[in-house]
Symmetry: C2
Subunit: 417 residues, 2 copies
């Protein structure tokens, strides 16, 4: 089954709000074998909305709509949906109770415009909204589905998770689509493609398999997609392709699926009962921020220090001033002493460090913007590796943080180049 995902709202069209609803809906529909093959965003304009509804409904089995269900004058989605299905609005008692309950919690009484939030198109199935005042609408006619939800992300998500997905789980038919994503880092897209070689030696063009390369500043993700008649067949196809890919690029893959590199590194540290401390200069706390996004990180993350001034490198890490004077703060020597210093001072198994030039100022011909030294220290060795990252300040920080985490991963797994 194919879906079109429609978002309504002037705030989206002027770019003030980034639309995360479409990605959420697409991913969730995908998980029940429904492929969103088009996303459309339009403003709060009756003719535009009607025209978008008509086109989407004609060419898709499923249409989802979010946005424009609020109480103010610019929210016209309900009335346009009524026009589209040639019906009128009625008060839904359960939705009205919900509006009153929400206002009571705020120690307030709903006014007419708030109570009108309980109006729904006649003959739709109402999707109740415990988290807000606007209910959703579900129409199923002649094997086609038209689903309207609020634009507030957490209200929409609750409706997707509690109503829409369970419905399609029960009613799904036809081809199954499954994805698996192999996340790589530390290798450019073109080198990865070369290591993999001709993809049609891995799977034939008519096998129902596709392979996509998705680059970002964190690395290249490889997405394997399989279409099949059953979940088992799809999973088997993916497994075969994954095995063949791993035989060529295993060491670059840090995880599959939703995990980030900090999750993968955290898992390794936790499993092996290793502790980590971090001394950051150019990454400015980003590595620690990512490490501490992982629940349970207090088990292995002892401390981080952001030594932005030279004085702090001397005081807090024991980097000799002469070393900084002789080689500069951005140098192999300083990166090594920083990694060693944070490890010994915090008494952890592993210490890592970053020192570099994130720009946009501070570069020189010898030490250009993007030059970053990453240090690593454990009880057996203390080293530093040189990187030259492209991009602007934030991108350089992101790439350096990713490279530092990847260095920890490879050292723990004893992966060599």
């Amino acid at each position: 089954m194919k879906a079109e995902i429609i978002s309504i709202g002037d705030e989206l069209l002027i770019g003030q709000v980034i639309n995360s609803n479409q990605a959420y809906i697409a991913e969730k529909l995908n998980s029940v074998g429904i492929f969103g093959d088009k996303m459309t965003t339009i403003g709060d304009d009756e003719n535009e909305i009607l025209s978008a509804f008509q086109k989407a409904y004609n060419s898709h089995d499923i249409v989802t709509v979010t946005g424009g269900l609020g109480p103010t004058h610019d929210d016209i989605t309900r009335s346009v949906v009524c026009k589209f299905f040639n019906t009128d609005s009625i008060i839904n008692d359960e939705a009205l109770e919900n509006v009153k309950r929400i206002f009571a919690r705020r120690k307030s009484v709903p006014r007419k415009i708030n109570e009108d939030q309980a109006l729904v198109p006649r003959n739709c199935t109402v999707i109740q909204n415990r988290l807000g005042t606007a209910p959703g609408y579900f129409f199923g006619r002649d094997g086609k589905y038209f689903i309207v939800m609020p634009g507030v992300p957490y209200e929409m998500k609750a409706m997707m998770d509690n109503f829409v997905l369970p419905f399609f789980e029960k009613h799904k038919t036809g081809l199954i689509i499954r994805h698996r994503t192999l996340k790589t880092t530390g290798i450019a897209e073109s080198f990865l493609a070369e290591q993999i070689g001709d993809v049609h030696k891995i799977f034939s063009p008519d096998s129902g398999i596709t392979l996509a390369f998705l680059p970002s500043s964190y690395g290249v993700r490889l997405r394997i997609t399989a279409k099949a008649n059953s979940v088992d067949e799809a999973e088997n196809k993916i497994h075969n392709v994954e095995t063949k890919l791993r035989s060529k690029i295993e060491k670059f893959i840090y995880t599959t699926g939703d995990m980030d590199l900090e999750d993968a590194v955290g898992k390794l540290l936790s499993e092996r009962k290793l502790t980590l401390a971090i001394a950051e200069s150019c990454t400015g706390g980003l590595i620690a921020d990512r490490i501490t996004n992982v629940s349970g990180s207090s088990e292995y993350f002892e401390r981080g220090i952001i030594t932005y001034s030279n004085k702090s490198k001397v005081d807090a890490l024991g980097v000799p001033s002469e070393l900084i004077n002789q080689h500069g703060a951005v140098s192999k020597e300083v990166a090594e002493v920083m990694a060693l210093g944070i490890r010994t001072r915090s008494n952890t198994d592993i210490g890592i460090s970053t020192t570099g030039i994130a720009g946009p100022t501070g570069g020189s011909p010898e030490k250009p913007i993007g030059l970053v030294w990453i240090g690593y220290s454990d009880k057996n060795e203390t080293i530093a590796l040189q990187f030259n990252f492209g991009g602007e300040r934030r991108i350089i920080k992101e790439r350096a943080a990713q490279a530092a985490l990847e260095l920890v991963r490879r050292k723990i797994l004893k992966i060599t180049d």
Copy 2:
């Protein structure tokens, strides 16, 4: 002039990537008086792309396209653009030099698939890409514009800022639209609305002015939009509304426009020649990360320390163990000593600290998830404020970091509640 903003990529359709490009392009076009009235996202499929191009080009003055310009087999945008304009590809010398330059920086040599990135449709104006290997294409014919850019956000942004916007700045006509956003934090949407009162006492309904409330985990943004016949008239209208709004809510506004709170705080520190050090527990480095996203932050940011273990709070900040045993690490007392400790040990003018329970585990009835103490210390006072944030782990980190930065801003400006 009206624009349609098209994104291409299967990764968008399966929801693996949140599309931030459309919002960026829409906002920037808007700033030169071009209204994006539709956004469309489609997959890497030739027929779908051709059909979307045709529909968009027929009904809009401007069409922007991003995505599908990479070197691998699933990147087909260039060939579809050639088909659409009934032309072929040629190597662009400057783009080829750029590919070689980028590979030289990586101490590597481009292969055929990399050099093919320098292929561009014949007869387009090439938008060079200093940050990546794929150039953009600009077609201007019969008063219509068709613009193709890479999907990598920072490459697209550089092309928008350095090529597309300057072009339309020079060629714009018709009604002018101007926005200004007042960013507030530390006040809920409904309280802000109450402080402002009836908006039509500030501007009349037919004045060409609109005011939008845009809440996020960082605070509520107020967007003033003015339509007018000239830039001066629009700016005047906005100025009048802004002045009236400021008379009611001045202290909550930390900046207007593109600045983030870390920019505003950095500017204050820099102007007043104050230095800052940070001791983070529950925010895990996020405050330091944000502070160091600002170019020039090394001028006022001395160091940060992420004391995730109790031992590190004792060693690195001088928090007495007994204090932690008596009150717990998440307490007013510990937050205060952390702020004082980081300030005195780093010899800065201001020290701030965070200690709290980010979840999803570790909460208790007395100290629930979301409880955060934020400490502040300068030469005159050392205090800590209690917050109770809602949301999951990352949201709690974000809200705590925002509240800590806002505390610094208000202390410097001597704003009291």
